[in-house]
């Protein structure tokens, strides 16, 4: 399997606090990897380490299977935190600086990119007078300017209106589909992320707690009865023998998720109790994406 990014135990410490704590991330080539976590969870810091803006305290990483990061980072396009723009210049001048910095020949490249991100009409308007959405789009244009193979985007749809969000989403899908650009993207707008992401990574307090594919997410969000019991083994037997239920799983110790017969969940509860199971909790679960992430991250604030 070819990876665009593979990290091993990346750690970044500020003061005495590990802001990124032994993160081992796997982003396959061609993935759109949704990176999720609360504010201050370490998403931006991790992205900055990958982009070479910050040095890790520990850990190693490979980009496109190579440890020669200096060279491989030339294949990156990044938009981390606020886009780096010269406020007193126009969008064209900003792109012209980038074009000259990287020795890209042909001024038409600037016009094409402005057209591509929908800023061709921005004209002589200075960037300091741009809306947040226009700035984000110009930031994306800068990230895309050198035709990168791997885009790292930190909250790229922040501050965009619904139309702008859709435009960026369509743009990213198009880049991934048509140019096979791998994308690592963080966003607070989970509903939007779920429309394009093929894989997810969840970071909490600097620790990458889970990585999974979008297909897994669907099954994890499936409607079910969640049972918290003292003896999973015996409860499973009762489910199968007395309730004739086969569609269930054990996501973690002491917890069962039953996908079958959930409209008659009272029957399940009765059989378990009569079978001598200590049923601590029984409830209908069936989450949307946000609910699932809230559960994982342990709270509703600032996801």
């Amino acid at each position: 399997m070819e990876y665009a990014l593979r990290t091993h135990g990346i750690t970044k410490i500020y003061g005495k606090r590990a802001v990124v704590d032994h993160v081992s991330m796997h982003v396959k080539k061609g993935d759109i990897y949704g990176f999720i976590g609360k504010n201050g969870a370490g998403k931006t810091t991790f992205m900055r380490v990958v982009a070479g803006l910050a040095a890790p305290a520990a850990g190693t990483m490979e980009l496109f299977g190579s440890g020669d990061l200096e060279k491989q980072r030339q294949r990156l396009g990044t938009l981390i935190e606020q886009p780096g723009l010269y406020g007193a210049m126009t969008a064209r001048d900003n792109l012209e600086v980038v074009r000259k910095s990287f020795g890209i020949t042909g001024k038409h490249a600037v016009d094409e990119m402005l057209e591509f991100v929908g800023l061709a009409q921005a004209g002589k308007k200075k960037v300091k007078n741009f809306s947040m959405g226009m700035k984000q789009r110009l930031g994306i244009a800068i990230a895309l300017f050198r035709s990168p193979d791997f885009l790292i985007l930190d909250e790229p749809i922040n501050g965009l209106d619904p139309e702008g969000i859709k435009e960026v989403r369509d743009l990213l899908s198009k880049l991934n589909r048509e140019r096979q650009i791998t994308i690592l993207i963080s966003s607070h707008i989970l509903g939007e992320l779920s429309k394009i992401a093929t894989n997810y990574g969840i970071i909490k307090e600097g620790v990458l707690i889970e990585e999974f594919a979008a297909e897994d997410l669907k099954s994890r969000c499936r409607r079910c009865v969640k049972l918290v019991v003292d003896d999973v083994q015996r409860a499973s037997t009762i489910l199968e023998e007395r309730c004739h239920i086969t569609e269930y799983d054990v996501p973690k110790e002491g917890v069962l998720r039953v996908f079958d017969g959930i409209d008659n969940s009272w029957v399940i509860n009765r059989e378990l109790v009569e079978g001598g199971i200590h049923l601590k909790e029984s409830y209908l679960a069936g989450q949307d994406l946000e609910g699932y992430f809230m559960d994982l991250l342990g709270g509703a604030s600032n996801v």
């Binding site: 070479g52 060279k71 980072r73 780096g84 210049m89 600086v97 800068i142």
Partner: protein, 279 residues
């Protein structure tokens, strides 16, 4: 590296700050000449002492060989005004602001992120900034010299202008370029360390205003050891640079001290930029 330099010079051309800096320097030169005119008028009794806030503590009523009242303006001459512009740190202060804006905005606007980790080494990025910073300072100084000289014609008169020792002016200007280059890199180092426009400008101007006082204090401290640290501080050299009769010792010391400070500031800047995180 060439691409980076190309982009940096493009940014310089697009920057309004340099034009504003030149305008401010022109106004300062004009004020200097204006002050000299006022002093002459006060000395000659044409206007009262204290007019326009200019107070001459010791009115000079002496006359020259032809019996006319002595003119302070003519005594100081164009080179003297230049010396005021540089030695009084008028040029240094504006250069500090220009360099700070040019360097620190890369951090405050986050544009440095567009380069770091994109195939260029950090020293290459630093040097690609340092070279235009030096050129910016030298061009600014050259413009100030040109403006000061040109303004001298209407104030001094063509006769005085023609009598100026242009060789000395050229030598003096050359030395100020040399010191200016070193100071520009020191400003850049301050910008790299502070990465905050207000802090960078404040520290740079603070250094200009107070470092010569500090070195004077150090001279006193080391007096017993027959050491004079101020002789090796580039800002002291800038202030004390003679306008005529340049001695070999000063020339050699000036060149060496400027070169050493330039290299020290550049090395420290690169070392910090290599290690420090970019936000």
């Amino acid at each position: 590296m060439f691409n980076l330099l190309n982009a940096e010079f493009y940014k310089l051309r697009k920057s309004k700050a340099i034009y504003i800096g030149v305008l401010v320097a022109s106004i300062l030169a004009l004020l200097l000449y204006g002050s000299l005119v006022m002093i002459d008028k006060i000395n000659q009794g044409e206007v009262a002492n204290g007019t326009a806030g200019i107070i001459v503590s010791q009115v000079d009523e002496s006359v020259n060989d032809s019996g006319a009242p002595k003119s302070m303006m003519r005594e100081i001459g164009i080179v003297g005004v230049l010396q005021q512009m540089f030695g009084g740190h008028f040029v240094g202060i504006i250069a500090a602001v220009l360099v700070s804006i040019f360097v620190i905005r890369e951090f405050s606007a986050g544009t440095v992120k567009n380069l770091v980790g994109k195939g260029y080494t950090r020293p290459a990025i630093f040097f690609a900034k340092m070279i235009p910073v030096i050129i910016l300072t030298l061009v600014f100084e050259a413009v100030v010299v040109a403006i000061t000289i040109c303004m001298g014609i209407p104030f001094m008169g063509w006769q005085e202008f023609s009598a100026t020792a242009w060789g000395d002016v050229a030598f003096y200007t050359g030395f100020q370029f040399l010191f200016g280059a070193a100071i520009a890199v020191i400003y850049m180092l301050i910008g790299e360390l502070t990465r905050n426009l207000a802090a960078g400008i404040s520290v740079s101007i603070g250094m200009l205003m107070f470092s010569t006082t500090l070195t004077a204090g150090l001279d006193l401290v080391f007096h017993g050891l027959e050491m004079q640290p101020s002789k090796y501080w580039v800002l002291d050299l800038m202030s004390s640079c003679p306008i005529a009769d340049f001695e070999t010792e000063f020339i050699v010391r000036g060149v060496l001290v400027s070169a050493v400070w330039l290299v020290i500031a550049a090395v420290l800047g690169v070392l910090h930029f290599r290690k420090a995180d970019v936000k």
